[in-house]
C-alpha cells in the first residue's frame, strides 16, 4: 500500500468527516436537548447550500455566501420550530413525522426555485489550489474545511462547558423538568438550540456546496450520514459526533477505494450494530 495514497485517503476521509461533523453536530444537539430526531436537518443543509450558491453567484464573495447560508437555514429552522414543531412538542413520534413532512416541502420548494441542475459554488474567494509538502500535494479547500470545522468544534465545546448558556443547555439535556423548575425559560432555550443547530446545517451546506456538487437528493444523503455519525458517536454528545464523523469519513474513503460494492454496507452496518449492542453510542448517555 503506497504511503502517499494512504495519506491522501486518510485526509479525504477526514475532510469529508469534517463536513459530516458539521451536519451531525447540529442534529445531535437538537436530539440531545429536545429529544427531537430532526429528519428535516438534511433539508436545512440544502437551504444553506442553495442560498450560499445564489449569494456567491450574485456577489462573488464566498464568505457572504457562508453567512447567508447559515442565516437562511437558521430562519427556516426558526419557522419550523415555532410554527410547527411547537404544536406537537413533547410527543416523540409526531415530532419526527412533522420533520419528515417539512423536509418534503422544503426539498420541493428548493427544486422549484433553483431547478434540478447540479450546482456548486465557484469557490470565488474561498481557498483553492493545492498545498504541497515535498511530493505530497493536497487540495487547499479540503484542508480549509478541516480547519474551519476544528475551530467550530472548539468554539462549541467552550460554549458548552465554560459559559452559562452552555450550562443551561447541559442542564436541559440532563434534566428538563428540573431546569424548568429552577425558573429557566426552557422553551426559549429549545428554540435557541434548534435555530443554532439549523444554522450549523446551513454552514455545512454552504461549505459542502464548494466541495461536492449539489442536487435535490443531497439533503437526504447528508441526513443519513449525519444519523449514522450521531448514533455511533452518541446522541447529544459533541465529542461523540466528532469521533463518529472522523470514523465514518475514513471508513467511507477506504471502503470506496478497496470495497466499492459494499460502500453502503460499510457505513450503515456499524450503525445497526451500535444500535443493537450499545444503543446510546460510544459517548452518549441515557436520558
Amino acid at each position: 500500500m503506497d504511503a502517499m495514497l494512504v495519506g491522501q485517503l486518510v485526509l479525504n476521509g477526514l475532510s469529508f468527516g469534517a463536513l459530516l461533523f458539521l451536519v451531525a453536530s447540529g442534529f445531535t444537539l437538537v436530539f440531545g436537548l429536545m429529544r427531537i430526531s430532526n429528519l428535516a436537518h438534511g433539508a436545512f443543509y440544502l437551504v444553506g447550500a442553495y442560498v450560499a450558491i445564489a449569494t456567491v453567484v450574485a456577489t462573488g464573495n464566498f464568505w457572504l455566501g457562508l453567512i447567508a447560508g447559515a442565516l437562511s437555514a437558521a430562519l427556516v429552522g426558526l419557522v419550523s420550530e415555532r410554527g410547527l414543531l411547537r404544536q406537537v412538542r413533547g410527543k416523540e413520534m409526531p415530532e419526527v413525522l412533522v420533520t419528515v413532512g417539512i423536509s418534503f416541502v422544503i426539498a420541493d420548494l428548493l427544486l422549484a426555485t433553483f431547478g434540478g441542475d447540479p450546482k456548486s459554488i465557484g469557490l470565488a474567494g474561498a481557498p483553492s489550489g493545492s498545498v504541497s509538502v515535498g511530493e505530497f500535494a493536497y487540495p487547499a479547500y479540503r484542508l480549509f474545511i478541516i480547519g474551519v470545522t476544528v475551530l467550530i468544534g472548539i468554539v462549541m465545546m467552550v460554549l458548552q462547558n465554560r459559559t452559562t448558556l452552555g450550562a443551561v443547555v447541559r442542564a436541559g439535556v440532563d434534566n428538563r423538568e428540573m431546569t424548568a423548575g429552577v425558573g429557566i425559560n426552557v422553551d426559549r432555550v429549545f428554540t435557541g438550540v434548534f435555530v443554532f443547530g439549523s444554522a450549523l446545517a446551513g454552514v455545512a451546506g454552504a461549505i459542502g456546496a464548494g466541495l461536492l456538487s449539489l442536487n435535490p437528493n443531497s439533503g437526504t444523503e447528508m441526513l443519513l450520514f449525519a444519523m449514522v455519525v450521531v448514533i455511533i458517536g452518541g446522541l447529544g454528545s459533541i465529542p461523540g459526533a466528532a469521533i463518529g464523523a472522523a470514523l465514518i469519513g475514513v471508513i467511507d474513503a477506504f471502503a470506496k477505494a478497496y470495497l466499492p460494492e459494499f460502500s453502503y454496507f460499510t457505513v450503515f452496518a456499524p450503525m445497526a450494530l451500535v444500535l443493537v449492542f450499545r444503543p446510546y453510542g460510544l459517548l452518549g448517555r441515557p436520558a
Binding site: Q8, N12, F16, P118, L212, F254, P260
Partner: protein, 439 residues
C-alpha cells in the same frame, strides 16, 4: 357462543366476497374501456373511426412526450421540452396530411411514474407515438410496455440494449446514441494519439459500464493496454478517493465515464483540485462535459477533451444553437437537440404518407426517410433501429463572448453501435459490465 356465531358470519362473508370476485374475474369489461388492447387510433382498419377524413381535413397524430420535469434530473426534462417545443414552433404543426399535437407528461425521474404515465398516454390520450423517457431504467421499462402495445417509441436513452438485446421493431433510437457506441471512437483516437496505457473511471451501473466498455474495447482492439479500472457508485458525493488513485496510476491517458449529474461536476472539481487534469491527459464521455456541467464547474473544464455525437460548437448545429440561445438564454444540451432532431425525423417520415400508419409502418417510414438535413449529420438507421452516424472528439474552449463550449477536434463518420465487431458475436456476448469490460 356469540363468538362462534360472529366467526361463522365473518367466514360466510369472506366466502361470498371471494366467490363474487372469482366470478367477476371471468367477465371482461367492454373493449372501449380496455383502451390499450385496441386503441381506436390504430392500424388495421382504415382509420374510419377518426372524426376527420384525409384530404378534406388533417389527420391528427398525437405524440406523447415523457420527460423528467421533476425529480433529480429535472434539468434534463426542461431541456427536452424546450428543444421539442422550439422545433414545432419553427416548423409548424402541420406536416403534409397530418396535424401534430403533443401531450407532455412528467415522469418524475422515476421508472414507476414513467410506466404509469406511458400507460396513461396510451390508454387515455391514445397517442400514436411516444418520445422519451431519458433515463436508462425508465427507457427499458417503457420500451418494453410500448412494444407490447405496438406503439412506436422514439427513444432518447443511451442504454445499449434498447437497440441490442432488447431490440423491438417498435423502438427507434432517434434522440441519442448507444452508450458504448459513442465511446468506441475515443479508444481509437487515444491510440492514434500515441497513448499506449490507460486507466478508466466509470460510474458503476450500466451507463458507466457501457461508456468504459466502448472506450476499452476499441483501445485494446487497436493495441493499447488498460492497466486499471475503477468503478464508483452513482450516488457517491465524494470522488476524491478515486481521483487520488488515478493520480497514482502510471498511465498515458485516463478515460472518465460519468453519468452527467453531480458526479460529473464532482469528478471535474476533484480532478482539478488534485492536479490530475494537469498531470495526465483525460478523455471523458459525453455527459461529463455536457453544457449543464460546464456551466456548473466553469473554467476548470477548459481544455478537457471528450467524445460525443453532439458538439454544441460545431458548424453543423451553429444555426440551431444560436436560435436556441436567443430563445432560452442557454446553450442547448444533448437532450434539447435530441428532442429537436426526433421532431425532424418524424416530419421527414410523415411528409410522404397520406394515411395514418400503423406502429411498425411509422418506424419503417422513419428509417427509410431522407435524413440528410438532420442535425446529427450524415446518419442512417441500422437493422436494429439504431443510428449510424458521426461521433466527434471535442475540446472545451471559450468563445468570443466568454462562454465555454465544446468544439470539434476530429470527427469520425459512420460509427455503428457494434463498431468494427461482428454484430452477431457482439450480441452473443454478455452486455458490458464490471466483468465484461471490453478487454
Amino acid at each position: 357462543m356469540r363468538l362462534a356465531q360472529r366467526r361463522a358470519r365473518q367466514l360466510t362473508i369472506c366466502a361470498a366476497v371471494s366467490s363474487v370476485l372469482l366470478a367477476l374475474a371471468a367477465c371482461a369489461p367492454s373493449e372501449s374501456l380496455a383502451g390499450d388492447t385496441d386503441p381506436p387510433a390504430s392500424p388495421s382498419d382504415d382509420g374510419s373511426q377518426s372524426p376527420a377524413e384525409p384530404s378534406a381535413e388533417a389527420i391528427e397524430l398525437k405524440v406523447g412526450v415523457l420527460a423528467p420535469m421533476t425529480g433529480f434530473v429535472s434539468a434534463i426534462g426542461t431541456d427536452l421540452k424546450q428543444g421539442w417545443e422550439m422545433f414545432w414552433d419553427e416548423h409548424g404543426t402541420s406536416v403534409g396530411a397530418f396535424e401534430i399535437t403533443t401531450v407532455l407528461e412528467d415522469d418524475a425521474s422515476s421508472p414507476e411514474t414513467a410506466l404509469s404515465k406511458a400507460q396513461r398516454l396510451v390508454t387515455e390520450e391514445k397517442v400514436d407515438v411516444v418520445l422519451g423517457p431519458v433515463l436508462a431504467n425508465q427507457a427499458l421499462a417503457v420500451a418494453d410496455y410500448l412494444a407490447r402495445q405496438e406503439v412506436p417509441n422514439l427513444s432518447m436513452s443511451s442504454a445499449d440494449d434498447v437497440t441490442q438485446r432488447n431490440f423491438s421493431p417498435f423502438v427507434l433510437r432517434t434522440g441519442a446514441m448507444a452508450g458504448s457506441q459513442m465511446t468506441f471512437p475515443g479508444g481509437q483516437w487515444a491510440y492514434e494519439e500515441g497513448y499506449r496505457t490507460a486507466a478508466t473511471l466509470c460510474v458503476d451501473y450500466a451507463f458507466g459500464w457501457e461508456s468504459c466498455g466502448g472506450f476499452v474495447s476499441a483501445f485494446v482492439d487497436a493495441g493499447g493496454e488498460v492497466t486499471q479500472q475503477l468503478w464508483y457508485p452513482g450516488d457517491a458525493s465524494d470522488l476524491s478517493t478515486y481521483v487520488t488513485q488515478l493520480l497514482n496510476a502510471d498511465v498515458d491517458v485516463i478515460f472518465a465515464g460519468t453519468a452527467g449529474g453531480t458526479d460529473s461536476s464532482n469528478f471535474l472539481r476533484s480532478a482539478a483540485d488534485f492536479g490530475l487534469l494537469d498531470k495526465t491527459p483525460v478523455l471523458s464521455n459525453c455527459c461529463t462535459l455536457d453544457q449543464a456541467i460546464i456551466q456548473d464547474v466553469g473554467d476548470i473544464s477548459l481544455g478537457v477533451k471528450s467524445v460525443s455525437f453532439y458538439t454544441e460548437g460545431a458548424d453543423r448545429v451553429a444555426d440551431f444553437v444560436a436560435k436556441f440561445e436567443e430563445r432560452y438564454g442557454v446553450i442547448p444540451s444533448l437532450y434539447a437537440i435530441g428532442a429537436y432532431v426526433s421532431g425532424q425525423m418524424l416530419v421527414a417520415a410523415l411528409e410522404d404518407l397520406d394515411a395514418k400508419p400503423s406502429g411498425e409502418d411509422l418506424v419503417a417510414a422513419m428509417k427509410g426517410a431522407d435524413l440528410s438535413g438532420s442535425l446529427w449529420g450524415d446518419v442512417s438507421f441500422d437493422e436494429y433501429n439504431n443510428l449510424v452516424g458521426p461521433v466527434a472528439i471535442r475540446e472545451v474552449v471559450a468563445r468570443e463572448d466568454g462562454k465555454l463550449w465544446n468544439v470539434v477536434i476530429e470527427e469520425i463518420p459512420d460509427v455503428s453501435q457494434f463498431w468494427t465487431f461482428d454484430p452477431a458475436e457482439f450480441l452473443d456476448s454478455p452486455p458490458f459490465s464490471t466483468t465484461r469490460t471490453g478487454q
